[in-house]
Amino acid sequence: MTTTTLIDNGILKQHLIDPEICIRCNTCEAICPVNAITHDDNNYVVRADVCNGCMACISPCPTGSIDNWRTMPLVRAYSIEEQLTWEELPPELSPDQWAADGVSASAADAAAVPSSVPEPMAEPGTQAFHSAKFGATVPPWSAAHPYTNLFPPKSPTTATVVGNFNCTEAGFESETHHVVLDFGSMPFPVLEGQSIGIVPPGTDALGKAHHARQYSIASPRNGERPGYNNLALTVKRVTTDHDGNAVRGIASNYVCDLKVGDEVQVVGPFGSSFLMPNHPRSHIVMICTGTGSAPMRAMTEWRRRLRSSGKFEGGKLMLFFGARTQQELPYFGPLQNLPKDFIDINLAFSRTAGQPKRYVQDLMRERAADLAALLRDGNSHFYVCGLKSMEEGVVMALRDIANEAGGDWETVGATLKREGRLHLETY
């Protein structure tokens, strides 16, 4: 999990309220921790420059009208004055309208979609296949109960950096860091799959304080160092935007440059459904790209510690891991050292010189026989984390595998969702 920001490359994922469904109950305004929501006699509206995508308003809304998003060029974001006059939501901008602003529609598609709670967000626009609708909003039945929002955005706590390692091979332009934060005596209990927010110091160009960026936790529940109140994050230094233009990611560069002993402002923990099963013989299938490996590393490590303590009976672990090149894989080395009977690792590289591109979904199709068996087993849990663009392909691969094995994906997918066994967290 990398940053959760509503603004990426001049493109805003604008949070809007549907005036046709909203009943003006004021719950969102009362609950918003940053006062981004306001109203007049006509409508309830969201201030684009204040909303930080923390999602605190989403589940309390009784109507669902709150969960609406439009991809907008930052310069054309709807003002609250405009929103107050609406009788219905405007449609997504057309490609022509995008072109008029000098941005290509594909750049808009690539804009990061934040999801600070790990429920899938309803994506605007229509596609033939909606992978997001199969994502569970509930945890597996044997998940441990998570603590959430102990430190909400308006009252962060402080953590100390106790480690910062560059875990990609030297000489490659991309750089992924393994950062360890210690909370001292502050209570900050976390579970694998949860995330935290880091607030970069300073202000943006408009003089406003930076909002928190969200990172998945890469360490297990009892600490990166077992028995200590610490956790690890996997952070990729952002040096280019989606079109390859040079840009310095504010939070990722701040985090990657942290020195041991530095103090950081932290909010969270967040997330109450992307959580691992804890019952004996539960299987975990992990599908990820890049820093989406963080929660997978956390779950794998917890199972490894349980196994080495002799307290855990069986349960398969299967990993599908995609990156552009082998050198880009964080934790590549340590992963390779895990025993084969403990975890079944499948690696896909999309940019290895002289080799055809291979994506995680290609690997999944090669392993269809094993995945079909796992799809039939009620103890199997599926986790997908990484770039937004992989989500659809991965879920379609699962669909095809289920259908080809004589099942019916609509039923299988609905069951996985209902039982909290398919979790999607992409950005």
Binding site: I23, N26, T27, A30, D41, M55, P60, G64, Y147, T148
Partner: protein, 475 residues
Amino acid sequence: MSSINYSEKIPNNVNLGEDRTLQRALEGWQPNFINWWDDVGPEGSTNHDVYLRTAVSVDPQGWAQFGHVKMRDYRWGIFLNPGDADRKIHFGDHKGEKAWQDVPGEHRANLRRIIVTQGDTEPASVEQQRHLGLTAPSMYDLRNLFQINVEEGRHLWAMVYLLQKHFGRDGREEADALLQRTSGDENNPRILGAFNEKTPDWLAFFMFTYFTDRDGKFQLAALAESAFDPLARTTKFMLTEEAHHMFVGESGVSRVLARTAQVMNELKTDDAQKVRAAGAIDLGTIQRYLNFHYSVTIDLFGADQSSNAAIFYSSGLKGRYEEGKRDDDHQLKGQSYKVLEVKDGQLVEKEVPMLNALNEVLRDDFIKDSVAGVTRWNKVLEKAGIATRLVVPHKAFNRQIGALTGIKMSPEGRVVTEVEWEAKKSEWLPTSDDFAFVASLMKREVEPGKFAGWISPPVMGINRQPVDFEYVRFN
């Protein structure tokens, strides 16, 4: 940060485990509550697994946990909004003083009365709605009804907590009495009139949740300003749940209108009998239901002039709606407000001291809020190209409380003779024929995604679930 102890019988964020006396009192009350639920709660629902939203804590993630549960196993708990140790009283004679954590002796009787009156409405509406589950127009609507029922139950718990925690033996007796009165019972009725009326059908239920639960919202909002901090914090949290009730009412009536408009367009008619024959509810009937529920509900705000209201305000027990957002002196002495009365056969406005008119102030705030929603209902008709519009009747129409009691008034606000009232009553208020017709449409739909013919499906499901989700498992 207050946390919930799941090992306890009663989930709470009030450190119940450390207060043995209170814990015993609540644990003693709980079996009576469950008996009450079994006796007069939703009929025939014992084995249903219902997709309910349960509050497990007061932070945004905690109070909207969804899952299938049996209603009698619903985790009724006690939740107060997070407190502010430095909170100051912000209106009335005690303005600027520290908010009270305990009940001051001189306000004990009044506070108890306020809490008992509020508490009494909660089980009352569960009783009023107990038969509705048998005629739910869809599984989705059935789930919404049950959600309201369990939340009314939780609101009863919230009031009982205050009574048992802060009012000693009297409080415990009042808590028991809340389970003994019964809606519509001749010998031991509920305290307020509207809560002894029947909720005979789903149109009445939607009107009730739109109008009467909105009264609840305004009363709770006024109590959320109270100088008695535990009451303020309790009611603040209840407001978040109350919003769901108003959603059910507003969207319910919207969906009825959408269906009626659809039938009118298909048949190209505005003839009520043809609409009825096609199995939809004609707009005239909907307007008459609206007139009835609106007028009965605005009576709930009490007499237009009330010395009690003045005392409650000045002593800091009950504020105005959004007291904190108003920029006056918050004491209101020497200010005036206009109320209505009838003089020489005509309605006239009269200036009275504002402190005595606070019931009217709250009623007017309610009216403004209600009218806004009716405007949104009319958008449904407008979009469908139907010319008819719904209107809220005049404030003085069909009133039974205050200076306007018994005045014969048309919905437009014209004083009428007894003879004209009798002649027109059937155009203005629902008739036995209207009730019989609506009742004839009430048939239960139990298939996921199926809806009765008199109502449209909702635009979206609950908690991002599809509309045809299995919201209730009948087992």
